[in-house]
Symmetry: C2
Subunit: 489 residues, 2 copies
């Protein structure tokens, strides 16, 4: 009798334990997705690959890649069978991406082979300028044609290798080189400064955007929302254009790309200038955004401010100005891209929410804010999470500690994005999906999470023809599933 009672207790406890854990899995992002029979088969393939790798890492943490720096495992990822599947997988939309940080260093290096490109090397920086004649503007040292410099130096290969260092954060010993957050942010911001003269030459600007759209399409992305500071572009004659013209340039290229690739669903612009300015400048920014909307009503998705949040320009300072236009302009603020707690950068999260942001960029700090999490859920504000960016830019070392894990568990409205993948030599979105799936999400998180993340990216986008896009996604997803199931069975 006693035995039976005890045995009963044990059964109840085991059931309680399993129920608790199962209820959590049922709560997790993606748990509402019901898989078809084919998807179940595909899921088996995904989970077999995932489990194998994770269990090996669990037993041998020295070989578990995702606890290392991204630069130490980036080159290994491309050999992963699971990564190859994720590359082929339709991923919906790319929603948090900065225009001139999307393509890899090799691509940027290739741009320096263009004619009429002058370079000026300074102590730790480089300037570029396209010009018919040798530029006369002051540059610290002297302007030389890249072509001349490349072939007059100690070999084009050595020259190119040196030049490429300006186009990437990748280094052999990242933990030593980037020993605090400001070091890596300095190098990161120098990338944009160093490449400014190269990219803002109108023909290069347009080519870069065209190739970005192509890279997105190649990575199985249907639609893109691109953040841009909209720098003034220039031409060989020395003409300089304004921010509106830069936006128009984007629109023109987008139209051309859609003609060339009618299966691509398009792109929209988030005007995102620097936050390190005063309120008068922000007022002017908003006017520019409105002007773009007037001229290209279907092209502007909205407005944001960029720059290392800890260094200043808290949204709070611009609250009075920004609230005036919150009914007219959609906001997509960066907020809480910090590991400080209780600082102005952390509290940007509250400002983004009260300003009615449609989505919040990063929101890394939001797990420390239970009420803000509630608000975000209630108002259905998507959080644009960029795991690899946060790791490279030193918010978190081991991606298993990324707050996204907790957001996924709480079924928060999350989209996965890539921020500036080219600067760390990642694919335009696949690496971020892969690291999220393998390094951040639960071992039990499966194909349903991946599908949900892809669907979320369309759902929380400002895409004009959302229903059509979702329908097309469904078709492509089914094709993808069928192709991998067919390969296997």
């Amino acid at each position: 009798m006693l035995f039976l009672v005890i045995s009963g207790n044990i059964d109840i406890v085991v059931k309680d334990r399993n129920d608790l854990l199962q209820k959590e899995l049922d709560l997790m992002l993606g748990s509402d997705i019901v898989l078809s029979d084919s998807e179940e088969k595909a899921n088996e393939i995904f989970m077999e690959l995932k489990t194998q790798e994770l269990e090996y890492g669990f037993r041998n943490p020295q070989y578990y890649n995702y606890s290392k720096h991204f630069f130490e495992f980036n080159t290994e990822i491309v050999n992963s069978e699971l990564f190859k599947l994720i590359q082929k997988m339709p991923k919906g939309a790319l929603l948090h991406a900065h225009d001139t940080g999307l393509l890899k260093a090799d691509y940027v290096l290739n741009l320096t082979y263009c004619d009429y490109l002058y370079v000026c090397f300074q102590e730790n920086n480089v300037n570029f300028l396209f010009s018919e004649d040798r530029p006369t503007t002051f540059c610290g040292t002297q302007w030389e044609l890249v072509k001349d410099k490349r072939y007059s130096s100690s070999g084009a290969e050595k020259f190119d290798n040196e030049l490429k260092k300006y186009f990437t954060l990748v280094t052999d010993n990242p933990k030593e080189v980037y020993n605090n957050i400001n070091v890596v942010w300095n190098k990161f911001q120098n990338y944009f400064i160093n490449t400014a003269g190269l990219f803002s030459y109108k023909p290069v600007w347009e080519q870069y955007f065209y190739d970005t759209l192509k890279a997105a399409r190649d990575d199985n992305i249907m639609y893109l929302e691109i953040r841009s500071v909209l720098p003034p572009l220039y031409d060989l004659k020395g003409n300089v254009f304004d921010s509106i013209a830069t936006a128009e340039s984007y629109k023109k290229i987008l139209d051309k790309f859609k003609t060339d690739f009618p299966d691509f669903f398009g792109a929209k612009l988030i005007y995102a200038p620097s936050r390190l300015v005063n309120v008068e400048v922000v007022k002017n920014y908003v006017e520019i955004a409105k002007e773009i909307r007037r001229k290209m009503p279907h092209f502007l998705a909205g407005f944001d401010l960029v720059g290392q949040e800890d260094l200043g320009g808290p949204i709070k300072d611009f609250l009075a100005e920004l609230i005036k236009s919150s009914d007219e302009i959609n906001y997509f603020f960066h907020a809480g891209e910090t590991n400080w707690y209780g600082t102005s950068s952390d509290e940007n999260l509250a400002d983004a929410i009260v300003l009615g942001a449609r989505r919040i960029g990063h929101a890394f700090a939001i797990v420390k804010h239970p009420l803000l999490l509630e608000e975000v859920k209630k108002k259905n504000i998507a959080l644009e999470v960029n795991v690899i960016s946060n790791a490279v830019l030193k918010l978190v070392e081991d991606v298993r500690n990324h707050p996204l894990a907790s957001l996924l568990a709480q079924n928060m409205p999350v989209v996965i994005s890539s921020d500036d993948p080219g600067v760390w030599d990642a694919e335009i979105l696949s690496h971020d999906f892969y690291v999220t799936f393998m390094g951040v999400a639960s071992k039990h998180a499966d194909l349903r999470l991946l599908k949900k993340l892809a669907l979320n990216s369309l759902f929380y986008s400002e895409i004009s023809n959302k229903d059509k896009a979702l329908h097309e996604f469904d078709i492509r997803w089914t094709k993808f599933i069928d192709s991998i199931v067919k390969d296997k069975w």
Copy 2:
């Protein structure tokens, strides 16, 4: 008119923003504490010191210490005025502490000056044994009197410095030396293996415990719950005693200490043997716990299992056995001391909860488990958080990413403890309080948090005379506050 409407909107938005953030502060752990006038004055002192240091770090992250490895800022902490205040502050109870990891390397080194101590150096390890005659047990190389070895070697100082390395994890370049979690855990576990023969000599064992109680009292701790594997002790004659005798040894020393220091509120034992065993051994463990309780009913606080959770011995395997005694023995399981998600180590959290644990050790992974967090709150299970331990043992690098921040924000039942502070050269509890307050908690978290954490440690303890202890805490706290206010005003 329009101006007035807009201005009204702005006021509402600013109010919404401030309300949101204030409501979160009102939710935070410690927010229910009402400060007296004197405490308000003391709080000003605390917050002035805290704010000054944090704002400097916010502007100059290269100088912000708590993002570095603990070994890189440990020696600087002791110069902090705030740290000195925290040392003097009554901190209540120490609830998560492993008996032979509490005192610093210098103390351990000093023990090797005892007579009759033999040493045997192996390749990377060392063995100690007290004996009247040269030990005859096999040790790989040869047994020598420490005294002989110390003075026959190339100088006592050099010998001591070499020996001390076995007694600490501290090293000059921790990030390079400990490049994955298993490396640091190996070194950590070797500390316990290397010192076993030294500590389990009965007179040393008893002296170590007496000095631990003294260190706790000196660090303004009133009461201690000590985890022990209860190793067999031995004497010079070669007698070996059982685990029950080890517990009795503790009880005897505790009684002596309380006679010497009647203001100390005592200690209880959590029997916590290794988890890397089979279920039969666990069954035997539980019998030992019951036997201790029979013999010393007021000395045993409860039962736990120890060892690196990722390596095995998940609670799940012992569920059936452990549930049988859950009405008789209090459980204080280590669970979720991992940055894996969805693994057996992560899921130990669910097992600890269904087994009715009074408190959970570490619970590092619990922020990824919204339902387990709810259960813990509903059942009022305290989480014993050890920030510095988690940083040194490589669960998290930057303490600002420690999940404790989120637990504090959610007003979870948290106690701060120190795990094995001696092994990383920290004070017995003050460093953990300091790092929690400065590096983990919100910039806005103030004296109320510190007081709450101290009160929680008594509230969630198994102390016999809780009301009396809380009353005495109140007296000591008031004295502390008065002393610092008097110093300042």
